[in-house]
């Protein structure tokens, strides 16, 4: 580690320690469930594993083993320790196995996710039919978060422990094997599995599995055969078990085999059969494809056929290299979330390779002008579902790529490379002819194991071609007179001819998107055109030519206007203007030169001169992936690039061979996290506070006149003071202030029970679990008054103080109401664990400018940012500096919320704990440099981060390693931040719900520093280069596997474990502002679902790459029809509910009234919810030309709805009835 990095971490850690000290002092004074900070600090993974598991000695042993072996091997090695008892304090054999299995899962998930504690319920020793013993591992749903490999290895570890302990293998009974097969299948149908094993596979695994896989029922559906088995508790599918068997064992068999081979004690020879048998895997995929799309295109683009060049794959029609269109991303299209481009369709996003500084790790770079032109549906952080290389990506603004090309109402076709301009012209846009470029980094292809798709011909590539052709590119780049990115037409033509290099991308048009015939027609049109000078006079081209190179104004080329020529120019992306008679192209010389014309518009070729190959190049793409046919008669020769190369005097490359389809996924998020209804204090008030759980209201509530107001009976903790023996529900004795301990009482015999070491308290006499709670009548009035008094606040300080109905935690320890009063005062609310949280969509950034973060260079220097990315001292606000791994950028909303939280924390320290204020912020600048926790759902470890600035985008920008440490990538995932001191003071495990998954999304441990080796390895696939080499671009045209070019590429993995592991994250593309484009997606600013859908259809009309009827069709098919059909079905089999007591009944009672209270009963599904969309759906179907099939389905549904809800006798067939 570099010294600078060490210094950085030390700064963070000392800051953390200071805060910790304050919090510890506070905790000792207050009434928290525990008198100490409950989030232990973990410096590394070993610490986290130990802390999450709560098994002492694991960390030390893990550190010992880590240097010597892989993590998987370490997990197996630890089994020995558990069995021998050197690690963990387990007496029983099942306990040892359990410890080993949990540790293995924790290790493999870097001690971050909740799977080891929540996903494995217990391990049991059971008896086989032959009297021998076997091990049963009882899984639960949250094992999902461990991932397939860890799931599979958990079984292996259990088996290894079993073997070492000399326990026999599990011998499955026949009915149990059948049950596994039926159950996995049922779970797959019900919930869905990533991999659906075939019945014979499941049976095969069940038969050979040396460990019994068992688990908690997770669904309501029940198996129909193999019910009520003796050794299986439930008839419902056991989700955890199904995951382990299917996504673990079945899917990861090859990985497990690697480890079984190294272990003498265990032998899973059957894995080989499974692996060989999984040749069926590809069959399954093929089946899927067949069923979901009859048009025969591949679902995934990684079909083998892709490797073949176009020349080979189609019979005799030569064609360019292309990846197959994939339409999976269009599935389940949602009303209100637009399609931006249909699969691989011309006019859609053009794939450009590179990584911008706010890019990588499952993101997609889009030009801000595009974001505005798609009616603001795209904003920074909006998730898109994409055709390739992954499934989804977070959108980031990158303005160093090309923007969209549009046709305006006046006929002008223009490329828009500026967000401001986009906003100016937006209302006049008639058609979006091209969405612009779409930046994807190489690492994305590595991560998704997707073959490289042909690259756009861009400046990055061209300059390397030019260099290879012999030009001194470095000198040109250094020359002040030459702009390599944006040369004049003359320069470009000169370079192309002088160096025999391909034409510059700026003047390379999209010849591959037009047919050879169209090119022929365009050439003919050139012959009929003339050149107009700027003043409108005719020019004499001969004279110009003779004048040599010195012409500065070539005038404009004026074509007689025909729709065909105009369309060809549009598809080529040639900017032009038009009126009724003419189409005018300025900067026309490269166009006509490319077409084989001289400046004087003469050509020496005819259509007949073209070779057969050129004339037939490119298969017809008139039928695209979604089966839409544009041309009645598809013909060969749809790609004119070969023809152009035959007529042009220089080489012309395919400008944008890969188009990437996508649609909107979920919108970006930047919102405070409130429970519903929001909760200020985790103290129980029963039903007394009404639906709002209003404490003030509860203090006045009385069930009837004879009751004293404000007295409510709730289930609450039972504790006793250590010193004076006072009984209380508080954590501290109200009399002497000493800690009070929970008292466990047996519910049957009412005797007190001492909990054992593991915290279980079982009554020795009754063998029932003793409970640490009691039903107690609380005097809310007094409690509320005392709390107000104790923090010196009045009721007017806040609107409403909201509490909870009851506590969900095991001990039901309430939170001091004082905290709630202060939260209400500062308008923040508590999550289930007592912390205040703010959610944001995750996005990566590796280099930032102080100015865009709304901070000064000085402020950043104070945080240790001494140099910019070029090594120059940081002095200006617009210098680019490399972001440190644990520094994060807050959205404006998050900053505001953190400020409120800081004020709450300050008041809490001062008014409740009696300490000094900690933060004392005046404005948000003061937040810079402060520590926060980052914390993702499904995990149990928080990561410490430091605020460096703010962004107007509704996202949380941070280093990709920070996100990876939380086990998130950036494809639209979101997670939360908490203010450090709030977490330290207010989090308690005692508040966590006592149910499955209760410990997820809770900071059971915090990581104080990020070790790049100990984070989600997806982040290691991010490339960190400043330029991609020419070999890479060339490889893309061969559709090579990304690993084939890894030698010439550099990904983050290469720096792991070196001095450079925290630095030198280079990027190929800069962007002016990481928050460019709209601040919020239109999806969030539009009101009703109907408005959103209208906007969605509106944009689909404008986009050339979108087939609007398909969008309408899909909305109807996937949104309206399921809704209508589902609600109609629900209506005819609905439950009914009592309006008075809320009791629901499967069927209307014969009495008509509520069986419980005699109250009024009513339907749960009404006519209104059944027919709410039918009119809209029919309108959309009509307006956007849905298929007759779809229209008829709607018609039949409409009639069905009418038939159910209309009285035939009252039907009015027309006005005639009244006449």
């Amino acid at each position: 580690m570099r010294e600078a990095d060490e210094r950085y971490f030390e700064t963070l850690e000392s800051q953390l320690e200071d805060a910790f000290d304050v919090a510890e002092r506070a905790k000792q004074r207050g009434g928290d469930p525990k008198p100490e900070v409950e989030i232990p600090t973990a410096r590394d993974m070993a610490d986290r594993v130990e802390n999450i598991l709560g098994i002492e000695g694991v960390a030390e042993r893990v550190r010992e083993l880590e240097g010597q072996m892989s993590r998987e091997e370490a997990a197996l090695e630890l089994v020995d320790d558990f069995v021998e008892g050197t690690v963990g304090d387990y007496d029983s054999r099942e306990g040892k196995v359990e410890g080993a299995v949990r540790t293995a899962v924790a290790l493999l998930t870097e001690g971050v996710v909740a799977a080891p504690i929540e996903g494995i319920d217990r391990v049991e020793l059971l008896e086989n039919d032959d009297g021998t013993e076997f091990i049963n591992v009882y899984y639960a749903g949250p094992i999902r978060s461990a991932g397939g490999t860890a799931q599979a290895l958990s079984v292996l570890v259990a088996d290894y422990a079993r073997a070492l302990l000399g326990i026999d293998q599990y011998k499955a009974r026949d009915d149990e094997i059948g049950r596994y097969a039926e159950e996995v299948d049922l779970y797959d149908k019900d919930t869905g599995l990533q991999y659906s094993p075939k019945e014979k596979e499941t049976k095969f695994i069940a038969e050979h599995m040396p460990i019994m896989l068992d688990g908690e029922a997770t669904g309501d559906e029940e198996v129909s055969g193999y019910r009520d088995l003796e050794r299986v508790d439930s008839n419902s599918p056991r989700g955890g078990m199904c995951l382990v068997l299917a996504e673990g064992i079945a899917l990861k068999a090859p990985k497990i085999q690697r480890y079984t081979r190294n272990l003498d004690e265990i032998d899973w020879p059957w894995l080989q059969d499974l692996i060989d048998g999984t040749i069926g895997e590809s069959e399954t995929e093929a089946d899927d494809e067949g069923s979901e799309d009859a048009s025969g295109d591949g679902d995934e683009a990684d079909d083998e056929g892709d490797d073949a060049d176009g020349d080979e794959e189609s019979d005799d029609v030569p064609g360019p290299p292309r990846v197959d269109p994939a339409k999976k991303y269009l599935r389940d299209l949602i009303a209100g979330r637009p399609v931006f481009s249909h699969p691989s369709k011309a006019g859609g996003f053009r794939l450009r390779y590179g990584r911008a500084r706010n890019h990588g790790f499952a993101t997609a770079g889009v030009h801000p002008a595009t974001m505005h032109l798609v009616d603001d549906f795209l904003a920074t952080g909006t998730q898109i579902k994409t055709e390739r290389p992954g499934k989804a990506a977070g959108v980031v603004p990158v303005d160093t790529i090309e923007g969209p090309t549009v046709r305006l109402a006046n006929g002008e076709v223009r490329r828009i490379d500026d967000a401001e301009e986009a906003l100016e012209v937006r209302n006049g846009v008639e058609k979006i002819i091209d969405l612009g470029e779409y930046l994807v980094n190489y690492g994305e292809f590595v991560e998704n194991n997707h073959p490289l798709a042909p690259a756009s011909y861009t400046v990055e590539w061209w300059s390397q071609d030019l260099d290879a052709a012999g030009a001194d590119v470095q000198a040109m780049r250094d020359s002040p007179r030459i702009d390599l990115d944006d040369p004049s037409a003359d320069e470009a033509l000169e370079w192309a001819t002088e160096y025999d290099a391909p034409l510059h991308p700026k003047y390379t048009y999209l010849w591959h998107d037009v047919s050879v015939e169209q090119v022929g027609a365009l050439a003919d049109a050139v012959e009929d055109s003339h050149i107009a000078q700027a003043d409108g006079a005719y020019a004499d081209p001969e004279a110009e030519d003779r004048a040599g190179d010195a012409h500065t104004d070539d005038g404009a080329l004026v074509f007689p206007r025909t729709d065909a020529v105009q369309e060809t120019l549009e598809h080529l992306l040639v900017e032009h203007t038009q009126d009724d008679d003419t189409v005018t192209v300025t900067d026309w010389v490269p166009l006509v030169r490319t077409l084989g014309f001289s400046r004087s518009l003469e050509r020496d070729w005819t259509f007949a001169d073209l070779s057969e190959r050129a004339r037939t190049y490119g298969e017809s793409e008139s039928v695209d992936a979604i089966g839409v046919s544009e041309d009645a008669e598809p013909e060969d020769g749809q790609n004119a690039v070969e023809a152009i190369n035959e007529v042009a005097p220089f080489e012309v490359r395919e400008r944008a061979p890969t188009r990437i389809g996508n649609r909107m996924g979920r919108p970006e998020k930047s919102e405070r996290r409130d429970l519903s209804p929001a909760v200020h204090t985790l103290s129980p008030i029963g039903e007394a506070g009404g639906a709002q759980r209003d404490v003030a209201k509860a203090t006045k509530h009385a069930d009837d006149m004879s009751d004293t107001p404000g007295r409510v009976e709730v289930e609450i903790a039972r504790r006793r003071c250590r010193d004076c023996g006072t009984e209380t529900h508080h954590a501290c004795c109200p009399d002497c202030g000493t800690t009070a301990d929970p008292v466990y009482v047996c519910p049957d015999c009412e005797s007190e029970v001492e909990p054992d070491e593991s915290g279980r308290a079982e009554c020795p006499r009754c063998e029932t679990l003793a409970s640490p709670t009691q039903y107690k009548e609380l005097d809310l009035r007094a409690a509320y008054r005392n709390a107000l008094e104790s923090v010196g606040e009045r009721e007017t300080a806040f609107d409403t103080l909201k509490a909870v109905k009851g506590l969900t935690s095991g001990e039901k320890a309430p939170e001091p109401m004082e905290k709630g009063i202060l939260r209400a005062k500062h308008d923040v609310s508590a999550f289930k664990d007592g912390t205040v949280r703010y959610d944001m969509t995750d996005l990566p950034v590796t280099a930032v400018r102080p100015a865009e973060l709304d901070v000064t260079a000085d402020r950043l220097r104070a945080l240790g940012y001494d140099e910019d990315i070029h090594g120059d001292p940081l002095t200006h606000d617009d210098q680019l500096v490399e972001l440190k791994v644990q520094d994060i950028v807050l959205s404006d909303g998050a900053a505001e919320h953190m400020l409120q939280t800081a004020r709450f924390v300050d008041d809490l320290l001062k008014q409740y704990y009696g300490l000094e204020r900690f933060y004392e912020f005046d404005d948000r600048e003061d937040l810079v440099g402060e520590l926060v926790f980052g914390m993702a759902p499904h995990t149990s470890a928080a990561t410490v981060g430091r605020v460096v600035g703010f962004t107007s985008a509704a996202v949380g920008y941070a280093h990709p390693y920070f996100h990876a440490a939380k086990r998130r990538n950036c494809d639209g995932d979101e997670d939360c931040v908490m203010l450090l001191m709030d977490g330290l003071l207010n989090f308690s495990r005692k508040f966590l719900p006592d149910k499955r998954g209760g410990r997820m999304d809770a900071p059971l441990v915090m990581s104080s520093r990020i070790d790049p080796s100990e984070i989600d390895d997806e982040a290691h696939n991010m490339d960190i280069m400043a330029t991609y080499p020419r070999e890479f671009y060339e490889a893309t045209r061969e559709l090579k596997d990304p690993t084939e070019v890894e030698d010439v590429m550099k990904i983050a993995e290469e720096t792991l474990g070196t001095d450079r592991e925290y630095t030198e994250f280079m990027h190929t593309h800069d962007t002016t502002n990481i928050a460019a484009g709209p601040d919020l997606s239109a999806y969030k600013t539009l009101g009703s679902m109907e408005d959103k859908m209208d906007a969605q259809l509106e944009i689909s009309r404008k986009l050339r790459a979108v087939v609007e009827s398909d969008v309408a069709e899909r909305i109807i098919e996937y949104h309206f029809l399921p809704d209508l059909i589902g609600n109609l079905r629900a209506f005819s089999r609905q439950e009914v509910r009592c309006l008075d007591c809320g009791e629901s009944f499967r069927r209307a009672p014969l009495t008509g009234d509520c069986r419980e209270c005699g109250g009024r009963v009513n339907l749960t599904v009404h006519e209104g919810s059944v027919n709410k969309y039918i009119d809209t759906a029919i309108r959309v179907a009509e307006e956007f030309g849905a298929r007759d099939y779809t229209k008829q389905r709607l018609e039949v549904l409409e009639q069905s709805i009418e038939s159910v809800f209309e009285d035939d006798h009252n039907k009015q067939s027309g006005i005639a009835d009244f006449m």
Partner: protein, 525 residues
């Protein structure tokens, strides 16, 4: 079935002017149904032949056996002889499902081939009445009160069938009875649970409230609990517990079909074809089989078939399941009905056609389903085919046929033990419905209900024939003298059926003698 002696075969042959090889006669005598085999052999013998050869008889027997390979469906003119254990116990010969051995032989043998194609029908002898048709009578508007009304109606109608058998006390009256006393109750099943000790707790509901009834697991009637469906109406008798909080059930009664039920028959020899699930528009619609069926209807053999009853799913429909359009031969729903209408035209013009909709047809899915609207009726005017609601009670020359499409059969088969109801013997599931006197008792699950002013799904009257389809399996039998028939379909195995291993019985036409209620299943594949 008595064996035909070779001597009789030879004399029969001689009377028709044929000679025969000795071995050929033996073969015929050994065939499972010598009379039919003989008929078939003679029908197919070459015109110029005078002597029946062994080879020829072999080929006939082989063809018949292929057709017979389906375990339930007897092929060709072979009389149906499905002997159901339960039904045959108290067999009434007059409504036997099996025909006398010679009957079809006589039928086939007496009609000269030359008269084929001509039908000489006196339509004035026909009589057809329809009851329980709710087409155009749907008055429900989807209010809560509609649901209450329909269930009360069900309770009242079915309770009236049980009142004579037990001394019903309303639930609120039972609540106030002394512990330990005897009590009886007629109620709608509102809940069935098994207790921790394996007994059954059945909650029964009447118009006053609910009452828990306990059926001990070791009592013989515990098996009946397995047959219970939610929302059917039953009667129980038993003893109240000491605290009068629960009734210990001693006996349990279903509304049921009386064992004494005597079906009515037609006054003349006339037949009806009872088919279902034509599925026109599906790629799997068996056009050839249909054509053979309609061709056959023109033959003299079919001259008495004057009625055609279709139990739903005339067409394949649209949007019945996801991505259905990819398996449709005719994608347009109206075109499907046009095509169906065309196929119907192949049926002799004098036949009386009645049908009800099924779940693939273009009407609401919720039951009862009204008949088609005017637009669809207009399409099918050609043959003047009438469409009634599902269910509907159609009385043909005195024989009442309860037509119901059969969606509830899926649920009955899923809910009840395999031996009571399964897909290979769909008629057994129908027995259950007859026993419950309701075509779709269970609410809230698979079957959908549209509440009307009365429960059209109750079998108020005992039908003589109960005709369903939907499950695409053929099966028939007698239950308390009621002929329960599930006709097969005219759609070959679909990809979906293949994937779940359902092998449909396609291309059969059950032909019912309305004067004897004898049934013959003809195969047209």
């Amino acid at each position: 079935m008595p064996l035909e002696t070779p001597a009789r075969i030879v004399s029969e042959l001689a009377s028709r002017g044929y000679n025969a090889e000795r071995e050929a006669v033996t073969r015929i005598a050994d065939a499972p149904d010598p009379a039919a085999t003989l008929d078939r052999a003679l029908e197919t013998v070459p015109d110029d032949a005078l002597k029946l050869t062994t080879d020829h008889v072999d080929s006939v027997i082989e063809a018949t056996e292929t057709a017979r390979s389906d375990p339930k469906a007897e092929s060709g003119s072979t009389p149906a002889s499905q002997a159901d254990a339960a039904a045959s116990a108290d067999h009434d010969p007059s409504v036997s499902t099996g025909t006398t051995p010679g009957s079809s032989a006589v039928e086939g043998g007496t009609v000269p081939h030359e008269t084929e194609g001509s039908r000489d029908v006196d339509t004035s002898l026909r009589a057809i009445e329809v009851a329980n048709d709710m087409t155009g009578q749907s008055t429900g508007t989807g209010e809560y009160s509609d649901f209450v009304t329909v269930f009360r109606d069900r309770y009242e109608k079915l309770a009236s069938k049980l009142r004579g058998r037990v001394n019903h006390r309303p639930t609120d009256a039972i609540e106030s009875m002394a512990g330990g006393s005897e009590a009886a109750l007629i109620g709608m099943v509102s809940d069935i649970r098994s207790t921790a000790s394996g007994h059954w707790l059945v909650e029964l509901e009447d118009t006053n409230g609910t009452f828990p009834c306990l059926v001990m697991k070791d009592r013989p009637i515990a098996d009946l609990v397995q047959q219970l469906l939610m929302d059917e109406v039953i009667a129980v008798e038993g003893t109240l517990a000491d605290d009068a909080g629960i009734l210990f059930v001693d006996s349990l009664h279903f509304p049921d079909v009386p064992r004494t039920h005597k079906p009515s028959t037609a006054d003349r020899h006339v037949q009806a074809a009872l088919i279902s699930d034509v599925h026109v528009g599906s790629q799997e619609f068996m056009e050839d089989a249909w054509r053979r069926f309609t061709d056959w209807l023109h033959t003299p053999e079919a001259e008495h078939v004057e009625y055609l009853l279709i139990a739903g799913d005339m067409v394949e429909g649209v949007g019945v399941y996801p991505e259905q359009d990819k398996e449709l031969d005719i994608i347009d729903i109206y075109d499907q009905y046009e095509a169906f209408s065309e196929y119907l035209k192949e049926v002799p013009g004098d036949m009386e056609i009645r049908m009800i909709p099924g779940n693939h047809d273009a009407v609401r899915l919720a039951e009862p389903q009204p008949g088609f609207d005017e637009e669809l009726r207009d399409i099918m005017t050609a043959h003047d085919a009438q469409v009634h609601s599902n269910p509907a009670l159609i009385t043909v020359e005195g024989v009442t046929v309860l037509m119901y499409h059969g969606v509830s059969l899926d649920e009955v088969i899923a809910e009840l033990p395999d031996e009571e109801a399964n897909y290979d013997e769909p008629h057994k599931a129908m027995y259950q419905l007859l026993k419950k006197r309701h075509v779709a008792p269970q609410y809230g699950g698979h079957t959908r209900l549209a509440p009307e002013d009365r429960d059209y799904l109750v079998m108020e009257e005992v039908p003589d024939v109960f005709h369903t389809g939907h499950v695409h399996k053929i099966g028939w039998g007698e239950y308390h003298n009621v002929l329960a028939l599930n006709s097969g379909c005219w759609q070959a195995q679909t990809d979906f059926q293949k994937s779940v291993n359902i092998d449909p019985d396609a291309g059969f036409a059950p032909i019912l003698d309305l004067d004897t209620l004898d049934m013959t299943v003809r195969k047209f594949t």
